[in-house]
Every structure is written in structure tokens, then in C-alpha cells.
Subunit: 186 residues, 2 copies
DNA sequence: TGAATTATACCGAACGTTCGGTAATAAATA
DNA sequence: TATTTATTACCGAACGTTCGGTATAATTCA
């Protein structure tokens, strides 16, 4: 069998960047192919169902990253809650390149994207809230308090990414991460 | 002179909704014209410079709404700070239809929109922060504290709109407005 | 009538998608 | 080992459709 020109991981990451920067409608097959290192027709060999399937693969890739690098950490009771929080914030900062890059969930959550990926995006946000709420419980908060903090952490990350990007001011993102820290551990 | 078929205000509001829901790339001229109640060519009569000009008009319309309905209120020293805050939150809730609708700044702030409207979006966010920071001063906070609260209010609104829309859960938006209240007046 | 507004028809370019064919490798055969 | 065969990966070219945009004619009203 002929070997692939671009490995799957590298391929998805190239596609991911285009969707994150341009959104679903803004990401053209030509640019997707270019950034992926393949021709347009070859993309259709890898993803026979086309653009929607590519978006889905990108979303799945993000979901796996979060599960491996964030959620598993947040749920690891062998690590003290304070340290878990610290590490989680550090990985979130890494994920969004210190606030210089937006979130794929936001990029794909305009109306056209929601019609295709609505359930996946909603599911991912629910997972974020759930795992941060779990951390809240480990910090000793009540279930209600913890759930609220889970939601606040998501709102802060999403909001600060929007504002930081629009204003070219990553300090807002960095500050928001600090506020999430204080939300749990003060 | 022949009267217009669709009045300017109504026209802009129709165009506004399309850009807010679909983003810049996702808003096609055919749909813009349809929702505006005009044909495409008639849109070009009203906006000879095309789509960019339409987006700019929509953005300006939003800016004026904010100035008239929010910023003037926030700066009105004849009203007690607490009441000003309360009224401001109420108008924000109205603006975003209790969290059921997103913010045009977010919709137009993907890469393609930022290249066209970057300065306008940045300016509008700065204005939001400035006026809420001013309110913070009136609440007796230091300049530094007030500025931080201004930024937090913007982050909370933007973030909660994203999450509320993606999760079809307007409670998150409502809660976030309550958190902004507590941020200033507790 | 004359000017303004709207509508029809159209344009080149770009869109997502498809297809026929070629390149590259592994497996099978001689 | 050398050659053929099968399988998969890739790509150029073209598809029909829609894009943003533009002529030009018809309509409307001062």
C-alpha cells in the first residue's frame, strides 16, 4: 500500500488551524488543502464525505486533546486539588497559545456550524463544566457552588479569548486564568 | 424624490440580524437582501461599496445603540451608581434578548472580519471597558480595580453569550449578568 | 419630464464536490 | 530475484452552484 504523504495527526492539525482561524464558512477547501499539505482532491480521498466530515474530525481531535491533557488531569485524585488546578491552567494557556489563538468551539459555533456540530460543541462544553465542577467538589465546595464555578471557568476562558483576540491584548486572557485560580483556590 | 421601499433603520436592522447570526463570510448578499426586504441590486444602490460597507453600517448602528442606550446611562451622574448598574444590566439583557442572541462584535471578529472591522471592534470593546470602569470609579473603586471590573464585565458578557448560545441555556447569560452586578455592587 | 429607486439579467470568480487517471508501495507470481 | 498484479494515495481538470458585484431597463413619484 502506498504510504500517505501527510500523516493523519499532522493532517488534522493543519486542518484544525484553518477552521479555528476562519470558522466553518470561512474555511475554504482550497486553503484547507493547502495548509494540510495535500491537494483538494486528495482531501476527499481522506475524507470522502467532504467538509463536514473534516470539521467533525477536527472537533474530535480537539475533544481528545482535552480529554487527555485536561480532563484526565482534573480528575486525578492522586494529585492535590491545588496542584491539579495549577497544571490545568498551564495546559489551557498552552492550548490557546497564551491567548493568542481562539477556541475551535467558538469558531465553529456560528449558526452554520451549530447546525452541523451543535451536539458535539454542546457536549464538549458540558464536559468542561463537569470536570471543573468535579475539581470544585475536591476543593470542598458544595455541588451547587462547584457547578457554578465550572460554568464560570468556561465563560471566562471563552470570553477572554474573544476579547484578547479582538483587542490584541493577551493580558486579558492571562488575567482571566488568574481569576479562575482565585475562583477555586483563594 | 421617490420614497424608499424600506426605511433606513428597518433596513439596517434586517442586515444586522444576518451578520449577527451568520458572521461576515456566512452572510451572503442574497440573504442580506432577502432579510432586508430588497433585491440585491437595490442593496447596492443603498450601499454602493458593497458588503464591507454594509457590515460597517451595521457595526456603526450597534455602536450608536450602545452609546445611546448604555454608555450615556453609565455616565449619567444624576443617577445613583447602583441604579445605573441595574438599568445597564437590564438594557444589556434586552440587547441580547436575554441571552438568546449573540453579539455582533463576536460574529464579525473572526479573522476575515477582523481584517475589515478590526479597528472598529477594538474601539467598541475599549469603549465598553472605559464606561464600565467609569462606573467602577463611581462605586468607589480605585482606577486599577475599576479598569479590571470593566474588562471582567466585557469578558463575562462575551463568554456567557457564547456558552449560552452553544448550550441553548440562557440561564448562563442571566447568571453572568448577576455576577457583573456583584462585581460592582456587593 | 427628469431624477431616483427598484428589478431583471447577467458576469467572472470562487465555492464544495466529483472523476479519470497516475504514482507509489505491498503482495503475489515466475 | 525479477516481474507482474492489486491496492491505496494522490492529483489535474472539470462539474454545477453560489459568490460578490454590475450593467441596463422598468417603474415610481416630485
Amino acid at each position: 500500500m502506498r504510504p500517505v504523504k501527510v500523516e493523519n495527526k499532522q493532517l488534522i492539525e493543519g486542518l484544525f488551524k484553518v477552521f479555528r482561524e476562519k470558522g466553518y464558512e470561512g474555511a475554504s477547501l482550497n486553503e484547507l488543502a493547502e495548509k494540510a499539505g495535500l491537494k483538494k482532491a486528495s482531501l476527499y480521498h481522506r475524507f470522502p464525505e467532504g467538509k463536514k466530515q473534516i470539521g467533525m474530525a477536527v472537533l474530535l481531535h480537539s475533544s481528545e486533546w482535552l480529554h487527555t491533557n485536561l480532563y484526565q488531569l482534573l480528575a486525578d485524585k492522586n494529585i492535590a486539588a491545588t496542584e491539579r488546578l495549577e497544571m490545568a491552567l498551564s495546559r489551557i494557556s498552552e492550548l490557546y497559545n497564551q491567548g493568542k489563538e481562539t477556541c475551535i468551539l467558538r469558531s465553529l459555533s456560528m449558526e452554520s456550524g451549530m447546525q452541523i456540530f451543535g451536539e458535539e460543541i454542546k457536549g464538549e462544553m458540558n464536559r468542561w463544566i463537569k470536570y471543573f465542577a468535579q475539581l470544585g467538589l475536591d476543593f470542598g465546595f458544595t455541588e451547587e457552588e462547584a457547578l457554578k464555578k465550572g460554568k464560570e471557568s468556561l465563560v471566562k476562558v471563552q470570553g477572554s479569548l474573544i476579547v484578547a483576540n479582538a483587542m490584541s491584548d493577551t493580558d486579558i486572557f492571562v488575567s482571566s486564568l488568574a481569576e479562575i485560580r482565585e475562583l477555586f483556590d483563594k
